[in-house]
């Protein structure tokens, strides 16, 4: 299970016309889809948005992994539906809200599944965000799969020592997490300490404006994708208010 989760969250490089785009174009595309999803107020509209998202996802060959992410967001979405319905909204409205959540997650995951942590870093720097903040954010993103792998190994080790996570009453079950959480946290701390030392040893923070090995370049295709995104979403929103 945890392995599936790691699989769904981690970026894997694939060579596709979408992956090759400038990260800023991908970000714009995702934001446009995000806004379109937010502004849709009927089930039909949201289904159209989901279909729209699936086109670049299909081209990027990430449909399967996106589906995995969506399966996880489904639990939240069911929750949203139940709460709204219970509070007294009608079925259609509650369903719209629940589906909208899935569409929003899909729009966001389109960006994260096609953009490497490196590219993410360049975009954030291009936005002139503080360097330490950018670094902390990108590192956190990179650490997620590493932590999940740690978690798998810790689970194996403690199970081999007779730990049965799912045994006992509620209190016992929470106590069962201690042998798993402590090594997980300790390993994360060890890692971050080592990382900090290694970074400093390699001159992190030595100059105010470090140079970059890769320079973002916005080409013809990026321009086409971006114009399509903006024009398409304006039309979509305009039509959805009209109809």
């Amino acid at each position: 299970m945890a392995y599936m989760l790691a699989e769904g969250l981690t970026f894997r490089y694939e060579d596709s016309p979408i992956h090759r785009r400038d990260p800023r174009a991908k970000l714009l595309l995702s934001i446009c889809l995000f806004i379109v999803a937010l502004s849709s107020n009927s089930v039909i509209h949201i289904l159209i948005v989901l279909a729209l998202i699936s086109i670049p996802a299909m081209i990027a060959n990430i449909l399967k992994r996106m589906a995995k992410t969506l399966v996880f967001s489904l639990t939240f979405s069911v929750f949203i539906f139940v709460v709204n319905f219970a509070v007294g909204y009608d079925v259609m409205y509650s369903l719209t809200l629940a589906l909208r959540f899935i569409a929003i997650v899909a729009a966001a995951s389109l960006f994260f599944l096609t953009t490497s942590p490196d590219e993410l870093e360049y975009v954030m720097r291009w936005m002139k965000l503080p360097r330490d903040f950018v670094f902390a954010f990108v590192t956190a993103v990179r650490f997620v799969p590493v932590l999940l792998l740690d978690l798998l190994q810790i689970l194996d080790a403690q199970k081999s020592r007779g730990l049965e996570v799912e045994r006992g009453g509620p209190v016992k079950r929470i106590r069962n997490l201690i042998p798993i959480l402590i090594p997980l946290i300790v390993n994360a701390l060890i890692r971050s300490g080592e990382l900090a030392e290694a970074m400093e040893a390699r001159g992190y923070g030595a100059v105010k404006r470090p140079t970059s090995l890769y320079v973002l370049s916005f080409d013809k295709w990026d321009a086409i994708l971006s114009s399509l995104s903006v024009i398409g979403s304006v039309i979509f929103i305009y039509l959805s208010f009209l109809l």
């Binding site: 190994q153 810790i154 080790a157 199970k159 081999s160 020592r161 007779g162 042998p179 300790v186």
Partner: protein, 266 residues
């Protein structure tokens, strides 16, 4: 007895980590497993206590299919010690770390006390009993991990890469532990890249490559077969290499053996 019946294991991402493995290991045997990175050694070990279940075929421990029982009950018989101590040490003291497994396996208080004392003594951890495991040195951590498993007295001790980062003293201690277990009729299975450590043991040796068993035989046969070693991407132990270069029929088992035979022959 540990028995693999045409076991194939395919990972969720499609990697075939084990291919049609057939294997029988008696409970009192000393077995070493070698092979390049990614050969499938750890995957094989994880099948022995049910952490992983075969995609095809079955694994039997004392005749019981690992699919039909729990990891905990299998671990009681087959004690696995993984490579990285930091993935398992969590208690506030060395003593508590040893008690953890004993509690899981339901020993009563008196028995827990008795076993803890015995194992602390045997592993030379008595002075460290109140120390936080995280503050121990790498070698002490490793010793503690092995001690924590041996405390419940499994029939077979399984060690994954036990010598990584271990100094001379700890390596000698490891030989001592292995010999002691053998004397008591226990089984020991060791996965290691450290062939110089394995060679003096002269154990039954299983060579793995790409999820398959290339060869299963005594160390003096396996490590004298240069073709095999090349295929498995493993180096020859130095004494075996020397024996090969001297065209000996039977290789030197250790330095003493070599000295004695060389002095006798001239």
């Amino acid at each position: 007895m540990i028995k693999f019946e045409s076991v194939t294991f395919i990972r969720p991402n499609g990697v075939v980590a084990l291919k049609d493995i057939n294997l029988e290991i008696e409970k009192n045997e000393l077995v070493t497993i070698v092979g390049a990175n990614g050969a499938g050694k750890t995957t094989l070990l994880k099948h022995m206590n049910g952490l992983l279940k075969p995609t095809k075929g079955r694994v039997l421990i004392d005749g019981v299919d690992t699919r039909k029982t729990s990891v905990a009950s299998l671990s009681k018989k087959i004690g696995l010690v993984f490579q990285n101590p930091d993935h398992q040490l969590f208690s506030e003291s060395v003593e508590a770390e040893i008690v953890f497994g004993l509690k899981n396996f339901g020993f009563d208080e008196r028995e827990i006390k008795r076993r803890t004392e015995k194992i602390l003594e045997f592993f030379g951890l008595k002075e460290l009993r109140d120390r936080a495991p995280l503050t121990l040195s790498g070698g002490e951590k490793k010793r503690l991990c092995i001690a924590a498993v041996l405390a419940w007295d499994p029939d077979v001790l399984v060690l994954d890469e036990p010598t990584v980062g271990q100094d001379l003293q700890n390596r000698l201690k490891l030989y001592e532990v292995i010999n002691e277990l053998r004397r008591r009729g226990k089984g020991v299975i060791i996965v290691s890249h450290d062939i110089e450590f394995l060679w003096p043991l002269q154990a039954r040796t299983i060579v793995m490559a790409d999820g398959e068993i290339l060869k299963d035989g005594p160390a003096y046969e396996v490590f004298m077969d240069r073709e095999l070693l090349k295929a498995a991407r493993i180096r020859q132990p130095q004494l075996a290499e020397l024996s090969t270069k001297l065209s000996l029929n039977f290789p030197f088992k250790g330095v003493e053996d070599a000295v004695e035979r060389l002095l006798r022959s001239d």
